[in-house]
């Protein structure tokens, strides 16, 4: 009997190890195969297969949850070697790009690593923890990374085909592109699974390198410059993280769990600064805007759905241990500040990808703010945003990519009549934007929870409110522009690679379904996770958490549904005889069937045209950014100040 249990325990052990190994290694191998594939169809097939397998592996791994994997002490050597190799690679690329500052940072990092190694050999007593672990939080991210990431990979195969026809990138480049993009999934899986700080640092560095290579993909001077900037800021984050490793080792911890357990505030603050760089929070936001030169699947995968979430994930993971401390208050302020300022700057942008980038910074700020508030309700709100934002924003980036390939512009003002020229994409875009701001959908419910959770911190709640109002502004403008359309009796589906179209439809269905079921997801999944993260939460905090799940859900589902049904019925029974031209500023000219010309002064025909408001003078990006950065640096400094005055 005992032997039986023993063997079962053993198989369970190896199964967990296998799950981790597959999640990390499979995409790397798939990427390498895609790189080697001589023909495009074979490359696409390999990428598709890898995407499918890693999605399955991700979902399977989550059914095993929670588990942890411990390894012999050999793994530390492997981690250090991997890290040194990665730093070496980064330094090589930085040298290639003449980024001397980055090379210097790499040298510092090597120094820190060697110092840590020597000091560790000096036998500081360190509590040994699991090397990898999969809990609810990591599980949520694993699903996002592999399922949404897999879909984006499939989309990318179609996208790059069209992209190369437009003259972007050559064959060999495309192989490397898929090597990095597919392999990234494995590194990202490793990042969220890692518990050991050494391994966390390895994967952190690895995702930085992926991001750099993908931003540089186009090879234009602009792309190279932006890639260098992204590398600089993220390597800075990496150095800070290595420093955190040294301090943690001195404090007798080597893993995130250890940092949580012994409440090493200094380590926490250092990790948070690294996280701010990765999650592109003010004052380290500039690299994410530059990263938008990369092909759109990259923006969707790395720069909105997964990689930038790593920072917010790290803060979220550590937050419960530091609940109520002054450090957390400052972190909540930094997040709230990024949320509001990025939303304000998004209002002034008409470049669709920049709007999405600012909106991403903004939402990441809200996650960080919620993590900083540190109540179970705030934690739950942050989790909701992590999930729903990844899906919706990934979808929107994919839509913008498809639109850009069709109309050759990413300016929002050029997106009128899209409903006629590409009805499917435009419809999916509108649906995706609506899920960002309309009541029954998850993003809005999580904003609601964020506001309710922030209520005890007056400054944060003001920032969250201001940010929410501005968010509504830029989405409304964009939706209005995309759905501006004349009456057409028939709509013809646009031509697009089937892989792109399929992914748009599937992801849109997921976003709509998940968004509608957001309250059920909250009650079934998010609430237990938040309770698990805060086992000693006060009774009042738990009551707030439960109250948010007990919202009246029937009116918010029934009324919009009634409206949608009424609209469908009207459209079904629509009589084209009721269509009129819009009222313009004078008499309509009927030169063509769909004329927007009217008779103006001296009988001159004038085309009616009204653009949206951008407040380019008030919300001037160039003028506001330096001040916002200054304020944000002060906040970061006060983070260190709080530490000193502890």
């Amino acid at each position: 009997m005992e032997a039986l249990i023993g063997s079962q325990g053993l198989t369970k052990m190896t199964r967990n190890e296998l799950a981790v190994a597959v999640l990390v290694v499979l995409p790397l191998v798939g990427g390498a195969l895609a790189w080697l594939a001589p023909w495009r169809w074979l490359r696409s097939a390999v990428v598709w297969l890898t995407a499918g397998l890693s999605a399955a592996a991700g979902v399977y791994a989550v059914t095993l949850l929670p588990f942890s994997v411990t390894l012999g002490s050999w793994h530390e050597v492997v981690a250090v070697v991997c890290e040194l190799m990665l730093v070496g690679l980064v330094a090589y690329f930085a040298w290639d790009e003449r980024g001397w500052l980055i090379v210097g940072l790499c040298a510092v990092q090597v120094g820190v690593l060697i110092f840590e190694w020597l000091e560790g050999a000096g036998q500081i007593p360190v509590i040994k923890d699991a090397v990898f672990c999969l809990d609810g939080l990591a599980g949520a991210l694993v699903v996002i990374i592999n399922v949404i990431g897999g879909l984006i990979l499939v989309y990318a195969t179609g996208y790059m085909k069209v992209h190369s026809c437009h003259g972007g990138g050559r064959g060999a480049r495309e192989g490397r592109f898929f090597l990095v993009l597919t392999g990234f999934l494995g590194l990202m899986n490793g990042l969220v699974l890692a518990n050991h700080l050494g391994w966390l640092s390895v994967f952190w560095e690895g995702t930085t390198l992926c991001s750099f290579l993908l931003i540089r993909h186009e090879g234009t001077p602009e792309a190279r410059g932006n890639a260098r900037r992204a590398l600089l800021i993220n390597v800075f984050g990496g150095v800070v993280m290595s420093l955190a490793g040294v301090v943690a080792q001195r404090g007798g911890a080597e893993s995130l769990e250890g940092v949580l357990g012994s409440r090493l505030t200094v380590v926490f603050v250092l990790l948070c600064i690294a996280a701010l760089a990765k999650s592109a929070q003010f004052p380290l936001q500039s690299w994410l805007l530059g990263a938008m030169v990369a092909p759109t699947p990259v923006s969707a995968l790395l720069h909105s759905a997964t990689m930038v979430k790593a920072g917010a994930y790290l803060v979220l993971r550590l937050a419960p241990a530091f609940e109520g401390s002054a450090v957390m208050d400052v972190i909540a302020l930094i997040g709230g500040f990024s949320f509001a300022v990025a939303a304000a700057l998004a209002v002034s942008q008409s470049n669709a990808k920049r709007v999405l980038a600012y909106s991403t910074i903004s939402n990441l700020g809200l996650i960080v703010a919620c993590a900083g508030i540190g109540t179970p309700l705030a934690y739950a709100a942050a989790l909701m945003i992590v999930c729903f934002h990844a899906a919706s924003k990934g979808l929107l980036f994919l839509c913008v990519g498809a639109i850009e390939q069709e109309i050759g512009s990413r300016d929002i003002e050029d997106m009128g009549s899209l409903l006629h020229t590409m009805p499917l994409t435009a419809g999916v875009t509108i649906a995706g934007m609506l899920t960002m701001l309309v009541p029954p959908f998850g993003m809005l419910m999580s904003k609601l929870m964020a506001i309710e959770a922030a209520i005890e911190a007056p400054l944060v709640v003001l920032l969250v409110i201001a940010g929410s109002a501005l968010t509504v502004f830029f989405w409304a403008k964009w939706i209005g522009r995309v759905q501006t359309v004349s009456y057409h009796a028939r709509y013809r589906l646009e031509r697009m690679p089937r892989s792109m179209m399929g992914v748009l439809v599937v992801l849109c269905a997921m976003v709509l379904g998940g968004g509608l079921g957001s309250l059920a997801i909250y009650r079934q999944v998010i609430e237990p996770m938040a309770l698990g993260a805060f086992p000693h939460a006060a009774e009042k905090a738990v009551a707030a958490l439960r109250a948010a799940g007990q919202l009246h859900s029937w009116p918010i589902l029934v009324f919009p549904l009634l409206a949608v049904i009424a609209w469908l019925v009207t459209v079904w029974r629509f009589n084209p005889g009721y269509v009129r031209l819009p009222y313009l500023a004078g008499e309509n000219r009927d030169e063509t069937e769909l004329s927007y010309k009217f008779t103006s002064v001296k009988d001159e025909p004038v085309v009616a045209w009204a653009t949206s408001l951008y407040f380019r003078r008030t919300l001037n990006e160039e003028r506001i950014t330096p001040w916002a950065n200054l304020l944000a640096w002060l906040l970061v400094l006060s983070l260190l100040g709080v530490l000193g005055g502890r």
Partner: protein, 287 residues
Amino acid sequence: MGTVMALFFVVVVAPLVGLVLNGADRVVTARLQGRVGPPLLQPLYDLVKLWRKEPLVVNRVQIGYVYLHLAFMVMTLVLLALGGDMVLALFAHAFSALSLVIGASSVRSPFSRIGAQRKIMQMLAYEPVFILLVVGIYLRTGSFMASAVGRLDAPLIVSLPLVFLAYLVALEIKLEKSPFDVATSHHAHQELVKGVTLEYAGPYLALIEVAHFYETFLLLGIVAAFFVRQIWLGVGVALVVYAGAIVVDNVCARLRTTWMVRCLWTVPVMLAVCNIIWLYVRRTQGG
């Protein structure tokens, strides 16, 4: 049973109250301008007339947003009547206004689009007041549930007097009254024609009118809620406030959109913020 009664009240009775109030508005306005004015039930006759007209549209997209506008307006009232979450009700109300904006910007008429932009500016101006109102109620009752207001021992006006003042200004915007009727109005403006609702006709315009009746009831109901427990006093004050709004409408000129935002964000929002700070301080001192 109480719930069913409340639902019946807000879904069926509320628009009728709103309709009569709007009729009264037109009579009072006419008297102020030295006219006799239409009968009290003129809004009802207008509604019937509009309903029988041809449903003319520019495209099919804009129709959906009329339904959403009305649905979210009714939903706001239902949520409040159920004693539900006030932040959720606030969001529903905001999206109701927003669907008009999105609907109006889905056509190529410049008047409609400019009206839509101005409507968003209006939202930027008044939404902070609404949110601060909810925050203030939370600080007073310790709950986001609307039902908690009914259980208060002293009326809200005692602890939220400055927020009440700010709310009165926001009300003027929401009712599309001068000096803030920049997005649309019952009187056609020269430079904006009919603004947000320009490209809606016939039954769709009728539905927007119905939503307006609901909204009138909602906004005045919130005024009354400041005096909860002395509900008749609240109703009285709400009627006085409405009459005041009509008078202000008739004696003021319409002003610029940017002026509106600046005006709201300086005095009323700051007043409300002061009130909120005062409540925070009292809470931390009282433990």
